[in-house]
C-alpha cells in the first residue's frame, strides 16, 4: 500500500493567499470560499502547500511570486485567479492536484517570463492575455484559456508538460546549498565568499550609541494580512526600525475602479453605509490578525462576507453587535495599540490619532451600518488618504519595534487601489 498517497488524499490544503493590486474582489471570494471549506490560510508560504494569487500581476510581483514559489516545500500547487475565474472550481482542482501529487507535478513555469509590465487597458481580459504566455509549451491550453475566460489555473494539475524548467531551478538550488556548506569551512581568510553568496550585515550607528549590525527586512508585497501592493523596506537593528522606505508594487488595472467604490460593488445591491462597513470590516480583520487575535479577525471576515452577500439582515446585525462589543471592550487590545503611530490633526480624518483611535473609528463606521443610520456625510477621498498614509509611513515607523510597525501599517491600511494612476508609479522614500 502506498502510504504517502493515502496520506496525501487526507490532507486539507493550507493556502497562502497573495493579493495583487486590483485583486481585492478575487481575494474576498477566495477568503469566503476558504472559510466555508475550513481551509486555514497559512501565515507564510513556507507553511503552505497552495499558493493562491488573486488578481493581475506585473513583472515585479511575478518575480516576487516566483521567489515565494521556490520557497514552498513539496507537495505544492499554484492557483492563479482573476476576476473572471470560478474560484470554487479552481480551488477544487488545486486541492485535487495536491491530493494526487507526485514529485513531478509540483513544478510550474516561472511567472516572471509571462508577466507584462502593466495591464493592457485596451483588453478586457488584461490578466488572461498575459497569462496565456506561461503555457507557451502547450498551445492548446492557451487557446483554451482565450476562449473561456473562466479557465482554471491550478498549475500543479495543468503544467506537467513544463516539468523540465522547474526541475532545472531545483537543481540550481541544490548546488547553491552544497556550495554554501563547503565555503563555511574550507575558506581561510582571503576573500569574502560566504554561504549562499550572501554578505554579512553591515554596521551602522544607533540612537543608543552602539554601532551594531543592521538587517534589511522587506515587508510586502507578498505577506499575510498586508495591504495589497505595499512594499516596505526596513533597516532593522535588533527589532527596532532604523530606516523605512515605502514603495508600491504593481498597478491597479486602469479600466476597473477601486473595488470598494465600484458602482454596485460587482452587481450587489448595497447601500453606501453597508459598503463602507464592509470595507471597514475588511480593514479591521487585518488589524486584528496582526494584533494576534486571529479569531476576532476571522469573525470580522465572516461578517464582511455575509454583509456583502446578503446585506444587513437582522441576524447579521445581532452577530455584528456582539462582535463590536467584544472588540471595543478589549482592554488588552487598547493597551497594546494606545499611543502608537500618532498622526497630527492636519491629516485626512481617517488617519488622525493613534492606532487605537483609528480602529475605533472603523468600529464606528460598522456600528453606523448596523444601526442603519443614514449615510453620514463622509467626504473621504480614499485616494488622498492612501497617498497621505504612504507619505506619513516612514516618519511614523522610524524607531518603532517590529510589532508596532505591523500595527501602525494595519491601522492606516492604505488602499492602494484608490491611488491615482500616476501616483502609483512613484516610489516614496
Amino acid at each position: 500500500m502506498d502510504v504517502t498517497a493515502w496520506l496525501l488524499r487526507r490532507i486539507r490544503p493550507r493556502p497562502f493567499v497573495v493579493t495583487a493590486l486590483g485583486g481585492t474582489g478575487v481575494r474576498l471570494a477566495v477568503e469566503d470560499e476558504l472559510r466555508r471549506r475550513a481551509w486555514q490560510p497559512a501565515p507564510t508560504p513556507v507553511a503552505a502547500d497552495m499558493l493562491v494569487v488573486c488578481g493581475p500581476y506585473d513583472t515585479e510581483l511575478a518575480q516576487a511570486l516566483d521567489r515565494v514559489w521556490e520557497q514552498m516545500p513539496r507537495p505544492r500547487v499554484r492557483v492563479l485567479l482573476d476576476a473572471q475565474d470560478d474560484v470554487a472550481r479552481s480551488l477544487n482542482e488545486g486541492g485535487a492536484a495536491l491530493a494526487s501529487s507526485t514529485e513531478g507535478s509540483s513544478q510550474a513555469p516561472p511567472l516572471a517570463d509571462s508577466a507584462h509590465p502593466a495591464p493592457d487597458p485596451s483588453s478586457s481580459h488584461g490578466g488572461d492575455s498575459g497569462r496565456s504566455h506561461e503555457d507557451s509549451g502547450a498551445a492548446d491550453a492557451s487557446a483554451h484559456s482565450e476562449e473561456h475566460g473562466t479557465h482554471d489555473r491550478s498549475e500543479g494539475a495543468s503544467s506537467e508538460t513544463a516539468d523540465d524548467e522547474g526541475g532545472g531551478d531545483q537543481h540550481a538550488d541544490h548546488e547553491h546549498g552544497g556550495h554554501g556548506d563547503h565555503s563555511g569551512h574550507d575558506m581561510h581568510g582571503g576573500g569574502m565568499e560566504m554561504p549562499g553568496g550572501l554578505p554579512m550585515a553591515e554596521r551602522a550607528a544607533d540612537r543608543d550609541g552602539l554601532t551594531l549590525d543592521r538587517l534589511h527586512v522587506e515587508l510586502g508585497p507578498v505577506l499575510a494580512d498586508w495591504p495589497a501592493g505595499l512594499r516596505l523596506s526596513l533597516a532593522l537593528q535588533g527589532d527596532v526600525v532604523q530606516d523605512a522606505a515605502v514603495s508600491v508594487v504593481g498597478a491597479a488595472p486602469t479600466d476597473t475602479a477601486r473595488f470598494w467604490t465600484a458602482p454596485g460593488l460587482g452587481g450587489r445591491e448595497l447601500g453606501g453605509p453597508s459598503v463602507e462597513a464592509a470595507a471597514a470590516l475588511d480593514s479591521l480583520q487585518r488589524l486584528l490578525a496582526v494584533a494576534g487575535w486571529p479569531d476576532a479577525g476571522a469573525t470580522g471576515r465572516r461578517l464582511r462576507d455575509d454583509l456583502l452577500r446578503h446585506g444587513a439582515r437582522e441576524a447579521w446585525r445581532a452577530r455584528c453587535r456582539r462582535w463590536i462589543r467584544r472588540v471595543r471592550r478589549s482592554r488588552l487590545l487598547r493597551w497594546s495599540t494606545d499611543g502608537l503611530g500618532f498622526v497630527a490633526p492636519d491629516a485626512p480624518e481617517v488617519l488622525r490619532g493613534d492606532v487605537t483611535a483609528r480602529w475605533k473609528r472603523r468600529l464606528d463606521t460598522i456600528e453606523a451600518a448596523v444601526a442603519q443610520e443614514s449615510a453620514a456625510p463622509r467626504p473621504t477621498d480614499a485616494g488622498a488618504a492612501a497617498q497621505s498614509a504612504l507619505d506619513l509611513l516612514p516618519s511614523l515607523l522610524n524607531g518603532q519595534e517590529l510589532a508596532a510597525v505591523r500595527l501602525i501599517v494595519a491601522s492606516l491600511d492604505p488602499d492602494l487601489e484608490a491611488l491615482p494612476a500616476d501616483g502609483a508609479e512613484v516610489g516614496h522614500g
Binding site: I11, R12, P75, G177, A291, G292, L332, S336, A403
Partner: protein, 308 residues
C-alpha cells in the same frame, strides 16, 4: 509518597500527554472554526490532517543556516515537555516523586527557552531571529513571577515535593488560598508554551516568527511539542493548585486527567479569546506589577502558614 510508578506507567505518561495534547489542538481547531463560521464538524480531525500534511511534506535547508541547532532545538521542545511531567503525581504516584519536584519542573520548563531561541536562530531568517529574541525577553519578564508562584505553592505545603503539595490541599485548594499565584501560574503556563496572548515569538505579524522557516516533520515536532508543553503545564497546575487527584466518586487518576483537561481547555480558550501581549509592553508589567504582586501573595501565604 506512594509506591513508585510501574514501568508501564512511564510509557503511559507520554501517551497520556500526547492524547490530551491532541485534545487541546482539536479544541483549538474547533474554536477557530467557530469564530470563522466554518463547519465545526470538520474541526476535530484538523490536527490529524495537519499531521498527515506535515509528515509527507518536504524538508528544507537554508544557505548559511545552523541546521544542527535548528533541528535540535525543535526536537528539544517535546522532550522537555515529557521530562517536565516526571514529577507529576497521577493517582498518588509520580514517575519519580523527587524531593525537589518543583525545582525540577522549573528547570525542565526553562529548557524551552533554549529550544525556541535555537529554532529561531538556526534558520538564518530575520523573522526567526526577532521571534527568538522576543521569546527570551518574554521569558525574562515572566520567569521571576512564575518562580514566586511555584514557591508560594511550595510554601503553603512546606515542601518542594509535588505530591506533598497536592496532599496539603485536602481542606482548601491552593487556587482559593493563593489566587494571585494561581493566576500568574496560568499566565506563565501560556507563556512557556508560547501560546495565546503570549505567542509573540511565533506570531502572525512575524510570518510565524521563530517557526517561520520550518517545514515538514520539523514543523510537526515543534508544533506538537508546543501542545505537549501546554498540556504539561496544565497538568502541573493540578497538584500545585487544584488539589491533585482528590475528588469524589472517581479514582485519583481520573480526577487528575479531568482537571488537567479542564485547565488545558481554559488555557486554549484564553489563547483564542485575547489578542497577543506585546513583549515591549509586557516587560515592564512583569517586573513592576507581577513581581510585587506575587511577592505580596507569598507574604500573605507565609503569614497564613505561621498563624494556622
Amino acid at each position: 509518597m506512594g509506591d513508585p510508578m510501574p514501568l508501564w506507567g512511564m510509557l503511559l505518561l507520554p501517551i497520556g500527554l500526547l492524547l490530551l495534547g491532541y485534545g487541546g489542538a482539536a479544541w483549538s481547531a474547533i474554536l477557530t472554526a467557530r469564530a470563522a463560521g466554518s463547519p465545526v464538524s470538520l474541526a476535530a480531525a484538523t490536527p490529524a490532517r495537519e499531521t498527515a500534511r506535515l509528515l509527507v511534506e518536504q524538508r528544507r535547508t537554508i544557505p548559511g543556516a545552523d541546521t544542527l541547532l535548528w533541528r535540535l532545538g525543535g526536537a528539544t521542545v517535546p522532550v522537555a515537555a515529557v521530562l517536565a511531567v516526571l514529577v507529576l503525581p497521577v493517582a498518588d504516584r509520580a514517575a519519580a516523586d523527587l524531593s525537589i519536584g518543583v525545582v525540577w519542573f522549573n528547570a525542565m520548563e526553562v529548557l524551552i527557552w533554549v529550544a525556541v531561541w535555537t529554532v529561531g536562530w538556526g534558520a538564518n531568517s530575520a523573522w526567526g531571529l526577532v521571534g527568538a529574541y522576543r521569546f527570551l525577553i518574554q521569558g525574562l519578564a515572566y520567569a521571576l513571577p512564575h518562580m514566586f508562584a511555584l514557591t508560594t505553592a511550595a510554601l503553603g505545603a512546606g515542601s518542594l515535593r509535588v505530591s506533598d503539595i497536592a496532599q496539603a490541599q485536602e481542606n482548601l485548594w491552593f487556587a482559593a488560598l493563593m489566587p494571585v499565584a494561581f493566576g500568574v501560574y496560568l499566565l506563565s503556563a501560556m507563556a512557556m508554551a508560547y501560546w495565546g496572548p503570549f505567542d509573540p515569538a511565533v506570531a502572525r505579524d512575524l510570518a510565524g516568527g521563530a517557526a517561520a522557516e520550518l517545514t515538514g516533520v520539523d514543523r510537526l515536532v515543534f508544533r506538537s511539542g508546543r501542545y505537549l508543553m501546554l498540556t504539561a503545564a496544565a497538568a502541573m497546575a493540578v497538584p500545585l493548585f487544584l488539589g491533585g487527584g482528590a475528588g469524589p466518586l472517581l479514582p485519583g487518576w481520573a480526577w487528575t486527567v479531568l482537571k488537567t483537561a479542564a485547565v488545558l481547555a481554559l488555557l486554549v480558550w484564553l489563547g483564542h479569546r485575547l489578542p497577543t501581549v506585546r513583549v515591549d509592553r509586557f516587560t515592564e508589567i512583569g517586573w513592576v506589577v507581577l513581581i510585587p504582586a506575587t511577592l505580596l501573595q507569598a507574604l500573605v501565604v507565609a503569614i497564613v502558614v505561621l498563624v494556622v
